[in-house]
């Protein structure tokens, strides 16, 4: 038990620092989350609305990345529901970044898994909370850290709320990652 308690956090720390997340491999991310109802017709946030996501994405290895984001409700009642997500992602069809620093593959796909924590009815009623796991497949990503920007399109995901024991789909129609290091300009 003692060994496990030392090794697990150490392994996690090493995992996060391997690959030396330089400025080129840290991005500010924005996107959208569209929640769909579960089999019983219930939505994760109980009512529809606009849910953009604002977060950070950073590289761990040439294929692996991690990220976190805040997903607040903006309409009709701004910030009455707020989700926080944390995820890891795997580039499926090639390296995200090249060890040499040169251009990696421009078109790729991404498979992600993570945790989604929600706070609901923050000011419109008795606050409630939800916890869920999710997986998301992004069939098309365009760009990578070398080009300074990556667009993720037509993502489909599955959310499992393990407190409510319900499963539902969600879509991220488009999301963009803006990498901190300046990219060569294309005219």
């Amino acid at each position: 038990m003692k060994y496990r308690m030392r090794i697990v956090p150490l392994a996690l720390f090493l995992l996060l620092t391997i690959g030396a997340a330089s400025a080129q491999d840290i991005a500010f991310s924005i996107g959208s989350w569209s929640f769909l109802p579960d089999a019983a017709g219930k939505l994760p946030a109980e009512s529809p609305g606009l849910f953009p996501s604002f977060g950070v994405t950073y590289g761990i290895t040439r294929y692996l990345e991690a990220g976190a984001a805040m997903i607040p409700r903006l309409t009709p009642k701004p910030f009455d529901d707020i989700f926080i997500e944390e995820r890891v992602g795997l580039s499926l069809f090639g390296e995200r970044v090249k060890a040499s620093g040169g251009p990696a593959v421009y078109i790729n796909s991404l498979l992600e898994a993570g945790f989604l924590f929600g706070a609901h009815k923050v000011y419109s009623g008795a606050p409630d909370y939800s916890r869920a796991l999710f997986v998301r497949l992004t069939p098309i990503t365009l760009g990578n850290p070398y080009y300074g920007r990556r667009d993720r399109m037509l993502s489909v995901g599955l959310v499992y709320d393990y407190d409510a024991n319900s499963t539902s789909l969600f879509l991220t129609l488009i999301a963009s990652d803006f990498y901190l290091a300046p990219a060569p300009k294309v005219h």
Partner: protein, 180 residues
């Protein structure tokens, strides 16, 4: 004449006046583009759904300051999907200026211009064409990138058929692609 009909006539008249007047001063001929956007509203005149807006536009003075455009819209409640509650609309749009050296240049590897836009639109539910509502929008974060426009975070005010304030809206993102 009913109030809502007067409003529509006014909007259409402005649109056609712009169409008639501006080409005479435009350095380039008119160009056409289509747009796809996602938006939501906090207004009793629109449901709480995520709306997808599909539009076709003609702009009369491309890449010039005070560039007017006329657009036709199809506004669909996409999530949850409700085709019966979709709306048709027209709008008059004005791109205020094109700024080459701008603080949002980092958002694209392409060279872009900041091109903020104001719009006035009229919508009617397809199932109830008598029931007009209007929006006034300002898109501050709008970039022109040669192939078209990209904007995010456009805010709008919603007005009812009597032009009374009836809520607000937010366009999360808008992608426009020039055709010719």
């Amino acid at each position: 004449m009913k109030k809502q009909s007067r409003g529509t006539v006014l909007l259409l008249s402005l649109a056609f006046l712009s169409a008639a007047a501006f080409p005479a001063f435009a350095k380039e001929k008119a160009s056409y583009y289509y747009s796809v956007s996602m938006e939501g509203f906090s207004s009793p005149l629109f449901s709480a759904a995520e709306y997808a807006d599909f539009s076709a536009s003609i702009e009369f003075a491309p890449r010039e300051d005070l560039n007017p455009a006329f657009s036709m819209h199809y506004l669909l409640p996409a999530n949850p999907l409700s085709i019966g509650d979709s709306l048709a609309g027209i709008s008059l749009d004005l791109t205020l200026f094109y700024l080459g050296n701008h603080p949002l240049a980092w958002m694209s590897p392409r060279t872009t211009s900041l091109a903020p836009q104001v719009s006035a639109a009229a919508y009617v539910p397809i199932a109830d064409p008598e029931n007009l509502r209007y929006t006034l929008s300002f898109s501050a974060f709008r970039l022109f990138a040669g192939y078209g426009y990209f904007s995010f975070g456009a805010l709008s005010l919603v007005l009812d058929s009597s032009f009374a304030l009836s809520g607000w809206g937010l366009r999360l993102f808008d992608f426009s692609y020039l055709r010719f």
